[in-house]
Amino acid sequence: MLRRTTLKLMATLAAASILPLGALAEMPKTIDKPVTISFYNYNLASAGIGSEATKELIAGFEKKFPNVKVETIAVPSNEIINRVQADIVAGKQPDVAQLTFRDLIFIASDLGGNALEDMVSPAELKEHLAGMIPKGLELGKVDGKTYGLAYTFSTPVLYYNGDLFKQAGLDPNNPPKTWADVNIAGKAIKEKTGKNGFFPGAYGPSDGTFVYQAIVMSNGGKVREGDKLTFADKDAAEAVKTMRDMVTSGAHAKIDPASGSDTFAAGNLGMFVYTTAVLGSYKKAAQGKFDLRIAPMPSFGEKPTAPTNSGSALFVFSRDPAKQRASYELLKYLTSKEAYTIITSKIGYLPLRLDIVDDPNYLGPWVKKNPMFRANLEQLNRLTPNMAFPGPNYRQVEKMMMDAVREAVFGNGDPIATLKAAQEQGQELMP
């Protein structure tokens, strides 16, 4: 509640403080003089592998561009948008920021993020974007312009515990492919091992909406169409009802929504749908304890899945042309083949450039050693952008939707009616 109030207050202040943005001045072609740019980064605010990899990337960039000094500002991911807003209000214009996709529209429309098409010449932009997955580039676009360049992102996969599968009489080499399969496997695990069957990382306070949206969109639903909320419409609501039915059947665990990841890592959950960013920590937790396996996310019957993206994109806010050039060079470096090799192999996120996957100079040797990662790479063909909400109340709308989803899945009332009531309420907060 307090965080929401704070966000609203800051949004108002930020909107009031940002001057009308005209066309950006042309940035120089090279960096001839020393320049310092700020880089707001959430990986640096952690002690995990993401921090080490980011430090390595920045050191590599500064070595390549000795004229550019990158001043890093480390902020946890759930607070980083607040910090960027606060600094804009305080007159400390950020240059580059790693922000989550849920804030995409707000960044483009209210926070003054630069569209790359407005900042960089078409030829130069085309040159850098060549080789990137077109669907990956769509993730950071608003009204056809690229505000965010996908940086550390992933799609949901199905983690499963091979040992629990065997104990339940299931074949771990034949993982569930559809939600009906998940229901059967989940029930078998629950009945024969006493452990929890299935849980998606979709309901916790730090899970965002990407797993939920992936499930909804895999059934042909959407959370909104333009400014109209549609998360209670037929296909979207049926997807949620499938989860509810699995709760009723006993296949879907009834545990604390925030504890799914730890329950799986502890070996007490058969199947868990979540980002590959946690693969490294699961490997360590499973070592010598259980047989960790990965499969693509399940589908609704024959319908193709629509894996959406978690993670972050890079945004440029610089107003000064020299800083814009340095910021753009940082963006280019952080989305280069070299950088994606580090990002994928050291953190576990997806590469935006598929030509490096089997290249022996880049990801080739790592992918050979980590065949499990193929399940995630395979999903890139169906990558579907996670939908952010528009307007200054976007986070409230998102919260209302997720509260309703939790109530629909775990509550006692009619799940469709619960979603419809929330949709009607949320619609009032949409632009």
Partner: protein
């Protein structure tokens, strides 16, 4: 007679005395059993924190009361991955300075309110009390903008200054000072002592208990501060230990072992305060309420 009477007494009363004594013992036993249970409930989370901090990664979720192969690798991880010692030092400086400044500013304000009775004294007192009800989130952005203009972002001074005075400190000392005998203050003034001298040489030395209470509460409160350092700090080495703890909850999964090791290190100074100043701490919370 005495000899004759004693058998009566011994015959008539011992069962009653014994029964009362048994009842007393039982009650005492029950009270102690409840206290032991409550102690276990209080100590168990601390025990679990320490045990978890000693578990290797693949034993983190084990429910065994002691790790099969205890290790200090989580402590090594904490001390090498984040500037933990620097953060502990920063937190100590911030908490000590905040507590000291709150005592000093509280003494000034309380003395002024007690010593100079004005027409608007009640209003001023009320406004100070009301300011306590304003949540930090309301003043956070103006404070941040001001800190930015003063060049205090990412500095310890910036962490200390906004908390240098607090309504709670003023009110606590005001109420303690009101009970100070005015005759002594009058006598001092007749003897030629000015306000500065009266405050520091007569009033303050007699306010040991409330000052100790305030210092302890302000120190612990500043030690646990999270939101303001989160907003103000830009680099881990300039931040405090509560931010350090948060660094082990990552996008790539929570690092429970290092988190518990860091929490154990972060709670050591506060545990030491409790051990050394146990009586004062309990009295502080009893008298002042838990902030």
């Amino acid at each position: 007679m005495t000899i004759d009477a004693s058998p009566d007494i011994s015959q008539g009363h011992p069962p009653l005395a014994s029964s009362a004594s048994n009842m007393g013992s039982l009650r005492c036993l029950a009270v102690h059993a409840v206290m032991v249970l409550l102690s276990i409930l209080s100590i168990f989370p601390i025990y679990w924190m320490i045990v978890t901090s000693l578990r290797p990664e693949n034993e983190i979720f084990s429910t065994a009361f002691w790790p099969a192969s205890p290790t200090l690798e989580n402590y090594v991880f904490v001390l090498t991955r984040i500037p933990m010692l620097q953060m502990l030092a920063n937190t100590t400086i911030v908490a000590a300075a905040t507590a000291a400044l709150q005592v000093v500013t509280g003494l000034f304000a309380a003395y002024a309110l007690v010593r100079w009775r004005m027409r608007l004294s009640g209003v001023i007192h009320g406004l100070i009390a009301l300011s306590w009800l304003v949540p930090f989130q309301v003043t956070m952005i103006p404070n941040y903008v001001l800190a930015s203009r003063l060049g205090l972002l990412d500095t310890l001074t910036g962490l200390i200054l906004p908390n240098a005075s607090h309504a709670f400190a003023v009110l606590l000392l005001y109420h303690a000072m009101r009970s100070f005998p005015t005759e002594i203050l009058e006598a001092a003034r007749i003897d030629g002592a000015r306000s500065w001298k009266i405050l520091w040489q007569i009033v303050t030395p007699n306010m040991g208990a409330p000052i100790a209470s305030l210092s302890i509460i302000a120190f612990i409160s500043a030690w646990n501060e999270y939101f303001w350092p989160l907003l103000l700090s830009r680099k881990p080495e300039n931040s405090v230990v509560q931010i350090g703890l948060q660094m082990f909850m990552t996008q790539e999964g929570n690092l429970w072992g290092p988190l518990m090791a860091a929490a154990a290190l972060a709670s050591l100074p506060i545990l030491l305060i409790y051990l050394i100043l146990q009586r004062h701490v309990i009295e502080s919370f009893m008298k002042s309420g838990i902030r």
